[in-house]
């Protein structure tokens, strides 16, 4: 997908055809670097890169640039997420320069959950630009070494540019095309919304293949490690855009509460196995709310260890 030298560890692994594993960092609410170091120490060696979320679900947490820098301190490669909800085109570009200056290379650019989904619903959302604009602006800063205004940067930004896509939200028929727009804008890898519905995922991948996208972008579907039936119901009812089939919830409800976490891991394992067989799936992105230990367990039980981490940093 690129004749150029790899811009990051993640990029190198993907380009070499390795099945990669990324995970989402539970963003902390602590000014103590130890809060991030602890998670870094937990995940190091189990995953190839870790997403630093940007005020996920519209709740403020530690800044993704700061978290990414702290991860690098402990030898974990960050994927710095930046959302358009909280930053206009000036702030986005400033943060891209800053992220690179602090050592980050992977970025993941998105629109972001609306402020009404968070704990500051009265806030003024920004939305100066949309995710596709943000992706193209990052590409301009990388390939042309300029700001979108045309003004020169000191040097081009060596970014590995990521995006998100949700195969499970309407209009389903447009989703592969929207992925195509993101690729056209400059997305090199994409992390999807959480996969429970494998049938919908298969159709999305097949249609993306029809559009010729599978050879142009690395697709990392997200897998959620559910800790309880309540967590699954929360995801279905409270998080917009997630499709949690009733069969999944029934399955977790079907076991006593002390074994629900195990069942959640079993479900995640089955989904990872199915995804690995799907053409065009370049890796998986693992998410668990307050359950970073279960991510480590999942990676181990899925037979994805050891991670090829020798090349980093």
């Amino acid at each position: 997908m690129s004749g150029l030298p790899a811009r990051s560890h993640l990029h190198r692994l993907l380009a070499s055809g390795q099945f990669v594993v990324t995970a989402e960092l539970q963003a902390t609410d602590s000014p103590d670097p130890e809060s991030v170091y602890r998670l870094a120490d937990l995940l190091r060696g189990s995953v190839d890169a870790v997403n630093c979320t940007d005020n996920s679900a519209a709740h403020p947490h530690i800044s993704p640039l700061a978290a990414g820098h702290l991860l690098l301190d402990r030898g974990v490669e960050p994927i710095v997420q930046l959302a358009c909800r909280d930053r206009n085109r000036l702030a986005l570009q400033a943060d891209l320069v800053g992220a690179v200056a602090l050592g980050a290379r992977n970025v993941c650019l998105m629109t972001g959950d609306d402020v009404t989904a968070g704990d500051h619903p009265e806030a003024k959302p920004i939305y100066d630009i949309d995710a596709i604009h943000a992706i193209q602006i990052a590409r301009i800063m990388r390939d042309r070494g300029i700001y979108v205004s045309g003004r020169r940067l000191d040097r081009p930004l060596p970014l590995f540019i990521g995006a998100v896509e949700n195969p499970f939200a309407p209009p389903h028929d447009f989703r592969p095309m929207r992925l195509g727009k993101k690729v056209e804008a400059g997305a090199e890898f994409v992390q999807t919304q959480i996969v429970f519905n494998l049938a919908t995922m298969r159709v999305f991948m097949a249609r993306s293949g029809d559009l010729g996208l599978l050879d142009r972008v690395f697709i990392l579907p997200s897998v959620y490690v559910c800790r309880s039936a309540g967590a699954a119901r929360y995801l279905r009812d409270m998080v917009p855009g997630i499709d949690v089939p009733d069969s999944v919830i029934a399955r977790i409800e079907g076991v006593p509460s002390e074994r629900q976490a195990d069942e959640g891991i079993r479900i995640a394992l089955e989904i990872v196995e199915e995804l690995r067989e799907m053409r065009g799936v370049a890796g998986v992105h693992l998410i668990s709310i307050k359950g970073d230990e279960s991510i480590v367990r999942l990676v181990e039980e899925a037979g994805l260890l050891p991670r090829p981490g020798a090349g980093f940093p």
Binding site: C84, D114, D128, A131, Q136, Y147, P170, P171, F174, A185
Partner: protein, 143 residues
């Protein structure tokens, strides 16, 4: 009046008076009534299935966000259909411009808010984009 220190960009619209004000009023009156137009001054309605993208609470110009509810309604306004679900369905019904849904639309020029897109189309003001954006045209991608 333009002086050396006047930093108004060419894309900023002068005050609408007389005939130009009449055009503005006609455009606003018709497009607000028919499409709930938000007068962004850089109309892409024909490219978005005749569903005004500025009605999207996130002002998205390139398609729906990932938060569209399973029933096709908006994440932010759950009682209303997603503007982009309507755009997709509308674009499938149009005899022309269906492929425009695949086009990457440039960022909004917020200075054109509340000006006439008809006038901006004629004067070319709506084609203005930042120099860096224009420089990133097709064919110069380093892949």
């Amino acid at each position: 009046m333009t002086t050396k220190l006047d930093r108004r960009p060419p894309a900023s619209a002068p005050e609408a008076k007389g005939f130009r004000k009449a055009i503005l009023l006609v455009e606003r009156g018709t497009k607000e009534a028919i499409w709930d137009c938000r007068m962004c001054g850089q109309c892409i309605l024909h490219s978005t299935g005749l569903s005004c993208p500025m009605r999207c609470p996130k002002s998205l110009r390139n398609g729906p966000c990932g938060g569209v509810l399973q029933n096709g309604n908006c994440e932010v306004l759950p009682d209303q259909p997603c503007v982009w679900v309507q755009a997709w369905e509308g674009s499938r019904r149009l005899p022309l411009w269906r492929d425009h849904m695949e086009h990457v639309q440039k960022p909004v020029d917020w200075r054109l808010q509340e000006t006439s897109s008809w006038e901006n189309l004629l004067t070319g003001r709506d084609r203005h984009a930042p120099a860096g954006w224009l420089a990133a045209g097709e064919g110069d991608r380093e892949r």
